[in-house]
């Protein structure tokens, strides 16, 4: 089998901090100020006083990533935010150059890093199809031959000659995706474009992506949606902080990724290096899963309530803080989200929290969970203002359903929820 993509020791370095001014748009006055202060800086450096501005920090967004991808295979790329996934895709799409390393790519690359690039609000849907198609690299003749297909897929047929600025956001997305979905390069690189849109739209996108994959194209797919990754890809690589941690069959890679944040036995403790300085004055300490008896466990029984306990420190008073968690299945589907100030009286009472050590504790009622393993992510934020801390996969726990209703039949039930419902049976006639 021929290799479609060969990535060898790719690295991408960015300068951050003071030197970042070089990489942001500059005003001439900044350059002048820099020059004027240069002697001061040099003098300071000479007497050993470190100048905060002169600390040049480099960060490797990608470091030493290598892999080969055969033609016709579909590879998933998973990782936390900031792991380097988008940077990798940008390099593969030739949007940016690697700092070190080489990539060889065999065939035309079509990139979906964003839908609707090049759409102009004043142009009609028809005109934008041509425009967007041309930007993505389609020939005019190609766009013409696929025009009807694209319009059908987008379901905006009757609005096709109206300026796009009149479209609803859903129509806009559908049209944008429709154009991108009809790209037919040998290699397709997709970056979380499925993260936008409603459920209907997402289903459609996934379907189309599945078709593309089945046509024998080589596909690289980045997503946070584990079920999409599981459905579409055969293999996946896990990136973290710019490095490739593993590559393997998708289920293994997804399991590895989801459980990589976990500590053992029902408790997660955060060390200093796990928390960024930007979360101050909030400091997470630990997250515990406790059973009915108050014991820290990693397996709970579905017929007993579960307690989720989040311990944290506030180094200064904070207003408007809310602490909560997200619960999801191991396949990445969300089950619920709940915050400590959801309850109105708590919301009023704890609108402002003084400095100190706190515990936010919630009890999840019994008879809710189905059998399986669940992942909890925590979040500390001030709604609409600032996010102090977030850990998407802080801890996982297992649920054991022995003794739950219906377990006298040895069959698995669907869904993450398995409540005890109040069934009544009545005879209403002969």
């Amino acid at each position: 089998m021929t290799t479609a993509i060969s990535v060898k020791n790719i690295g991408k370095q960015y300068k951050i901090g003071a030197a970042e001014t070089k990489f942001r748009y500059n005003m001439l006055r900044d350059v002048i100020m820099d020059t004027v202060y240069a002697p001061v800086r040099i003098a300071k450096a000479m007497i050993g006083k470190s100048d905060r501005r002169s600390n040049q920090n480099y960060v490797w967004a990608l470091k030493d990533v290598s892999f080969d991808l055969e033609e016709g295979k579909v590879l998933g790329i998973v990782g936390r935010n900031g792991a380097g996934k988008s940077t990798l895709l940008k390099i593969l799409s030739r949007v940016t150059d690697p700092t070190v390393g080489t990539v060889s790519v065999r065939g035309r690359v079509g990139s979906l890093l964003e839908v609707g690039t090049g759409f102009h609000p004043e142009l009609t849907g028809r005109e934008n199809i041509y425009m967007n198609g041309a930007i993505l690299g389609m020939r005019r003749s190609e766009i013409e031959s696929k025009f009807d297909e694209i319009v059908d897929f987008s379901e905006v047929t009757q609005y096709i000659d109206t300026p796009v600025k009149r479209y609803s956001s859903g129509m806009y997305l559908r049209l944008a995706f429709a154009v991108a979905a009809h790209l037919e390069p040998e290699i397709l690189v997709v970056d979380e474009v499925l993260a936008v849109g409603d459920a209907e739209f997402q289903k459609k996108c996934l379907g189309k992506m599945g078709d593309v994959a089945q046509q024998g194209r080589t596909v690289l797919f980045v997503s946070h949606n584990m079920s999409a990754i599981l459905r579409l890809t055969q293999e996946a690589i896990v990136l973290n902080k710019g490095q490739m941690l593993m590559r393997g069959p998708t289920q293994e890679a997804v399991d590895f990724y989801l459980s990589s944040g976990q500590a053992q036995a029902g408790e997660r403790v955060w060390g200093v290096e796990d928390v960024s300085a930007a979360s101050q004055p909030f400091r997470p300490i630990s997250l515990k899963i406790k059973n009915r008896g108050g014991k820290v466990v990693d397996t709970v029984r579905s017929i007993e309530p579960v307690t989720v306990e989040f311990e944290y420190q506030l180094d200064a008073p904070v207003t408007g803080l809310r602490i909560g968690f997200y619960l999801s299945t191991m396949r990445g589907e969300y089950v619920l989200a709940s915050f400590d100030t959801d309850e109105p009286n708590l919301f009023e009472k704890f609108d402002s929290r003084k400095a100190g050590r706190y515990i936010s504790r919630a009890e999840i009622p019994a008879d809710i969970f189905n059998e399986g393993r669940y992942s909890i992510g925590v979040n500390a934020s001030s709604f609409g203002v600032r996010r102090y801390f977030m850990d998407e996969n802080a801890i996982a726990f297992n649920v054991d359903i022995s003794g739950a209703p219906g377990t006298h039949w040895p069959e698995p039930r669907v869904g993450p929820v398995r409540p005890r419902l109040n069934w009544k049976i009545e005879k209403i006639g002969d």
């Binding site: 748009y25 030739r94 690697p98 990539v103 065999r106 690359v109 142009l123 930007i135 690299g137």
Partner: protein, 281 residues
């Protein structure tokens, strides 16, 4: 469900680019249709939802010409080498309009399309190129007006018009392109360009013989004056259309040389900065 195209795919190597980047004209040729689309889009969008539509392409040079005629033709009575002032100034306004589009649209072209630059691969040269070329549409419309003006004032065109005019048009494009390349690349990193542009445009207008004839410049300043490439372009336009002025002479060749230098150096500067665009824009 279409099949994979059957042609043999080419392999591309992506590596850190060092030093002087090649011009990569092949890629530009592959993406030639995109240039057409972008020009088409710019022209369409410019006049959408306007009442007067394309008429604006005419109104601007005509209004400028009228103001100039009043101020410089009637009040200041600047010499015009024997041609009625309206025709004289309008001939200058034609290539000048092209140049101003290149200055304004061209220098902003990269920054204005920053979402494309950061998400999609295409030869970035396309952006300033299409910005300058979209000025040609306005140029063509204004050219028609010039012909009407020449008829009205009964000014007969120079005999060698048909081959000299395209040459000077080419020179105008080369000059405009060169400036657009430099400014658009610099603007990505130093947004001062945006601030300086209105002032630069005004200053350049007065340094170019649009409203006046370059014969008013005294002999000793002529060479310095001809360092402005637009001086050569405007003079050349006038000469090829109306037959006024001294025709190709040393000052013209100086201007041509400068234009070509700005263009070539602009190409190379642009290409060498290109790899940083997505990161710094």
């Amino acid at each position: 469900m279409t099949e994979l195209t059957k042609h043999e795919p080419t392999t591309i190597y992506i590596k850190p680019s060092k030093g002087l980047a090649a011009l990569n004209l092949r890629d530009l040729w592959v993406y030639r249709e995109l240039v057409f689309f972008m020009v088409w889009r710019d022209v369409k969008v410019k006049y959408k939802q306007t009442l007067l539509g394309m008429a604006w392409a005419v109104i601007q040079p005509v209004m400028t010409m009228l103001i100039f005629t009043f101020l410089f033709g009637k009040v200041a009575k600047l010499p015009t080498d024997g041609v009625p002032y309206p025709v004289f100034s309008f001939t200058g306004l034609l290539p000048w309009g092209l140049f101003v589009t290149a200055l304004n649209q061209g220098s902003r072209s990269l920054v204005a399309h920053n979402n494309m630059v950061t998400k999609i691969y295409f030869p970035r040269l396309i952006l300033p190129i299409s910005a300058v070329l979209s000025g040609l549409v306005d140029f063509a419309i204004a050219f028609v007006i010039l012909i009407i003006l020449m008829f009205y004032y009964q000014v007969s065109p120079a005999w060698n018009l048909f081959w000299t005019l395209p040459l000077f048009l080419l020179l105008a494009l080369v000059t405009a392109m060169g400036v657009a390349l430099w400014l658009s690349a610099i603007n990505v990193q130093y947004r001062d360009v945006n601030q300086a542009l209105p002032f630069l445009t005004q200053f350049w207008l007065f340094a170019t013989p649009v409203a006046y004839s370059s014969s008013v410049i005294s002999q000793k300043w002529q060479i310095l004056y001809s360092l402005n490439p637009m001086a050569g372009v405007v003079n050349g336009f006038r000469w090829s259309l109306l037959g006024t002025g001294s025709g190709p002479d040393i000052s013209l060749w100086v201007s041509v040389g400068i234009s070509i230098f700005i263009f070539i150096s602009g190409l190379f500067y642009f290409r060498s900065m290109e790899k940083t665009f997505a990161d710094t824009i």
